[in-house]
Subunit: 627 residues, 2 copies
């Protein structure tokens, strides 16, 4: 029986242009970049130069598991997918849960690097050590759900794992994502469109090799303790979160000025509307059961079912805070079945909910401000809350039909085409549509704004600023006493640096990020990761060493962006966030431009980068061994 | 019976993403941009912004006939195709002869704008006023020659005109071109790859409408006089050129230090080798008959046949100076059947001979300098003159097989991937492989270097510098007494400005450029174009007005490039041309850096551009009405 080692794995390379398949050991890169996102990004940096555009055959699409993936470590299920970013032209990186990554690891591969572009639609079939490029002509044009079924039928195995694109990816829609298990999305950066440009419909995997860790007893003991502790503490301290997953976020955001109402025109939504769509409503009327990813001790997803009304028969899972807010307050829709339907359509067509709702919200605001009339929207009335129009636009975007062809370019590019000041309504950073509100919590805002992949809170943004963390806890965890004070600018740059580095390590291990910060009680911090790593690989390491690797990855990604011409000028929030919030409990709060700029200076200084350009210096890259 | 007017034509728009087909009148644009390249570029500038990459669905591929196309004007046959440039990221523009453009005009269309990207391979069928997107699944994977036959068979009409891509375009090879009539190529800028990225295999056209000119008698008289004069003078003054077409250029270049030997390592080729491949050899042993494009009074092409030896059975036409030099001296091949074979393969696979031979020559020099060994080249021995290796590499590039996958990226990008100083052997400007020698003739060099589409002599480079033009003639034709002195830098910037503007107008009329400058006796200059235009359209114009439009187009293209980040820094020759020629009659000649820079300053000044950045000023664009 073949065995798979947690550390010394294999990289599979598949060139779709000429069918060439080869492997190389991860050990070439593991010392400096661990695995997962780290190795992905190193390959990307070295092999995809600045003259290469996202849809060029020479672009790479890189799937990466991680050091702990497939082991008993909590939530060790993530798959990081990296490529050139279809929206920003810089680093593209996204991460999905489910069961795909462990299966890939069990098949014997830590990474799959897709080169080139097939002449006809294909899918990749990885059957343990056997790799085959198979015809996908008959699957082309299908949803991700149909694709899953058709491939499992064809291969006569319904336990295999499939990551696929829907029609959006085939049509090179910039919001296209990659989906596994029906609803787990590597959502952001338009990676589904990269996959579509390569005529690659899916990657299917069967793996049944055993995974080996270096010190099994020690590892098992560590993992058992972490798991039981997490479950116990979470149930004691945050039973509502255990029960509701991420669905409480909408309400909580509304109470702290963090909502995204009508394309971010306000941070506070009508409480009556909140009540209509809140977590309790979902649990009471739509949730059939809890669901989780591979190896999760605290599952956060629900299988939803709409039993009645216009959308009766709509079913699906993976519905979390983002879909909830994206298709609820952001578009002023307070009818839950329509919000669920929008989520399910995105899963089926393979659309990122954040970018898709972002460009739709842009179109709605253009309509509100008179830039669009019904003549521009194929006759649709884009009035806030008109969910029929929302659902129709999702379809039109996926198929590039009518106005959907324009919206498929994303709000930044669409606003350049449309002109007439419509760019003011494109709420993006570096061309990437913003999901989150960034008026109030300053580290959260900074983390979103400097994020190498455009914008988002899953890199440097901490959740602690609104969660009642004390100054003592802030000092103890991060060396930042103001960590729990959303109004403070002080210390926030340091907090962002900490979380960016930490998240870099998490993405190399590829355990679920939520395992590390369940309601800000850090179950798995750098120390725990170092112990897990040492037990799994047999290579001694420390928290400090890991955080250095996180820093290296951050610098590498930023250097990639710099090579593409991105820099400080692109680390800017949309103008809307310098204006005060209009209503609600955080009314009047806003980002102050001067303080923000100083925080940004401080961030670059802490990073050791050029404050003027926002780019890593040669000295810093040399220090990190990636000059 | 429908009629087609030389002036007030139609633009056909086809969106392959969603099947939407529409038309609009050319009159919207004709006042400022005439037609052909002018209108193409205006559409490109307005609809393809800087966030759009060449293979994005939002990129456009624009076919343009021209004001005089399809009329009796000499050589009124050209089709200009414009898009974002796959090699430079700036303006992409290429121009092909044959019979396609007149047929398109007779079908009732002056321009065809392709939007979007089909989900499956298709071809476009324009049957007079009827337009259809048809399945091309069975044609995908075929050569351009096979495609032509298959489509004509399918449509049961062997008189229709087809423009198609071969396997190179399907594989998004950066050197891919668009081919019509078997060998007429819109060669440069990688437009075949753009077409491939849209899954568009071909455009097929049938047109049998009558074309109407405004003043038929006057037009007929003008045209008759021009034609008979051209034929008479050409036969009297340059009978050898009438007989040999462009095939004398290789020998003449060799005698003036303008050859491209072994990837431009020398400008002079062994005269014994020249003798083996010279024009007389071709005419004596391979040419079956003369061939020409639509409406040509002085055809320059031959149908060639290799009757004996290893390549017996190789047949084709469209073989001109570029194929001759590209696969002869540039690769040190002195065996004519192999040179002809290389040309024919490029036509079949749909590869631009200049860029393809350029990247192959780069690989050969890398091999010579020890950067490549047989391990890097799939076992091929890339020794100068090894034509078997050349032919094998052409195939490998078209199919992205083995090392061909690297070479398919073009020499600039390939050299970045390979590193180790290999960029010194990439003879490109702005990423576009150079076809021509630029050591000696200064206006020729400057015209190539500042060319908006990367490099080439078909924009601002005059042929007069080596052709014995007297100072009086130079002064009379262009206001440049030094026009016939290749060593002079003085006046050359002015000469380039003149020819860039003039060529802009020619490409709007889309008569063949060679009609205008047959051996430097300018049969059709701005005055003649103004007369033809007035007679054809009924709109009075003057030479000066037309040249202003040429200037407008040049500024527009340059503004497009500026928006993509191109500028003065990219108006630089490869370092090789600052080093002296090693041997032959021009031994020791070179571009002198300081004098070149001064000439460049002068060029920008004459253009009214910013000398520091090389970009058009707002004032200049405003003056031209394109701010």
């Amino acid at each position: 029986m073949h065995e798979v080692h947690a550390y010394a794995g294999k990289i599979l390379r598949v060139n779709l242009s000429n069918g060439r398949i080869s492997t190389e050991p991860t050990m070439k890169y593991a010392g400096k970049f661990l695995g997962g996102r780290g190795i992905n990004q190193w390959i990307l940096y070295n092999e995809v130069g600045p003259g290469i555009w996202p849809f060029d055959p020479a672009n790479r699409l890189i799937f990466g598991t991680g050091v702990l993936v497939g082991t008993l470590a909590p939530g060790a299920c993530r798959c990081t997918i990296d490529s050139k970013n279809v929206l920003t032209g810089g680093v593209g990186s996204s991460n999905m849960g489910g069961h795909f990554a462990p299966e890939l690891k069990y098949a014997g591969y830590d990474h799959v690097v897709i080169h080139g572009r097939s002449l006809k639609p294909v899918y990749l079939w990885i059957d343990n050590g056997k790799v085959e490029i198979r015809d996908a002509s008959d699957i082309w044009g299908k949803t991700t759900w149909e694709t899953d079924d058709l491939i499992r039928d064809e291969l006569e195995d319904h336990d295999i794992q499939v990551a696929s694109i829907g029609q959006a990816g085939e049509n090179l829609v910039r919001a296209a994502c990659i989906i596994t298990n029906g609803e787990r999305a590597a959502g952001r950066c338009g990676l589904g469109a990269v996959m579509g440009s390569k005529n690659l419909k899916a990657v299917a995997v069967r793996g049944d090799r055993e995974i080996t860790v270096a010190h099994p007893d020690e590892f098992f003991e560590l993992v058992s303790e972490l798991r039981s502790n997490m479950i116990r503490v979470a149930n004691e301290k945050t039973p509502d979160d255990v029960r509701c997953g991420t669905l409480l976020i909408l309400e909580r955001n509304n109470n702290t000025g963090g909502n995204t109402v009508r394309n971010f025109q306000d941070a506070y939504w009508d409480p009556e509307k909140v009540k209509k769509v809140c977590a309790e409503e979902i649990l009471k009327n739509y949730a059939l059961r809890k669901m989780g990813c591979f190896g999760c001790p605290l599952p956060c997803s629900f299988y939803l079912n709409v039993a009645q009304g216009e959308f009766a028969g709509t079913r699906g899972e993976g519905f979390k805070a983002d879909s909830h807010k994206d298709f609820g307050p952001k578009l002023d829709v307070d009818y839950l079945p329509a919000i669920i339907k929008a989520h399910v359509l995105c899963s089926q067509y393979g659309l990122d909910v954040d970018s898709t709702s972002g460009v739709i919200a842009w179109a709605f605001e253009c309509y509100e401000k008179g830039i669009f009339t019904k003549e521009d929207t194929d006759g649709l009335e884009l009035e806030w809350g008109n969910y029929h129009a929302v659902l129709e636009l999702i379809r039109k975007i996926a198929f590039r039909e009518g106005v959907g062809d324009l919206l498929a370019e994303g709000s930044k590019r669409a606003s350049k085409i449309v002109g007439r000041g419509s760019d003011r309504f494109s709420i993006n950073i570096k061309g990437h549509e913003l999901y989150e509100s960034i008026w109030t919590a300053k580290a959260w805002a900074l983390g979103c704004i400097v994020s190498t992949r455009g914008c988002d809170h899953l890199r440097g943004s901490p959740t602690c600023e609104n969660a009642g963390i004390t100054p003592e806890e802030g000092e103890r965890f991060f060396g930042v006493p103001t960590a729990g004070d959303r109004r403070a600018y002080e210390g926030k740059a340091k907090l962002v640096v900490y979380f960016e580095n930490f998240k870099g390590v998490v993405d190399c291990m590829n355990i679920c990020y939520y395992m590390t910060q369940w309601k800000n009680i850090y179950f798995i911090g750098p120390e725990e990761l170092a112990k897990l790593y040492t037990a799994a690989t047999g290579r001694e390491t420390t928290a400090a060493e890991l955080m250095k690797i996180g820093e290296r990855i951050q610098n590498l990604e930023r250097a990639f962006n710099a090579r593409e011409g991105l820099g400080r000028k692109d680390d800017m929030p949309p103008a809307r966030f310098f204006e005060p919030i209009k209503s609600g409990p955080a009314k009047g709060e806003r980002l102050e431009r001067e303080k923000f700029e100083r925080m940004l200076d401080e961030y670059y200084e802490l990073r050791g980068w050029d404050v003027r350009t926002g780019n890593p210096t040669q000295a810093k890259l040399r220090e990190l061994g990636i000059e």
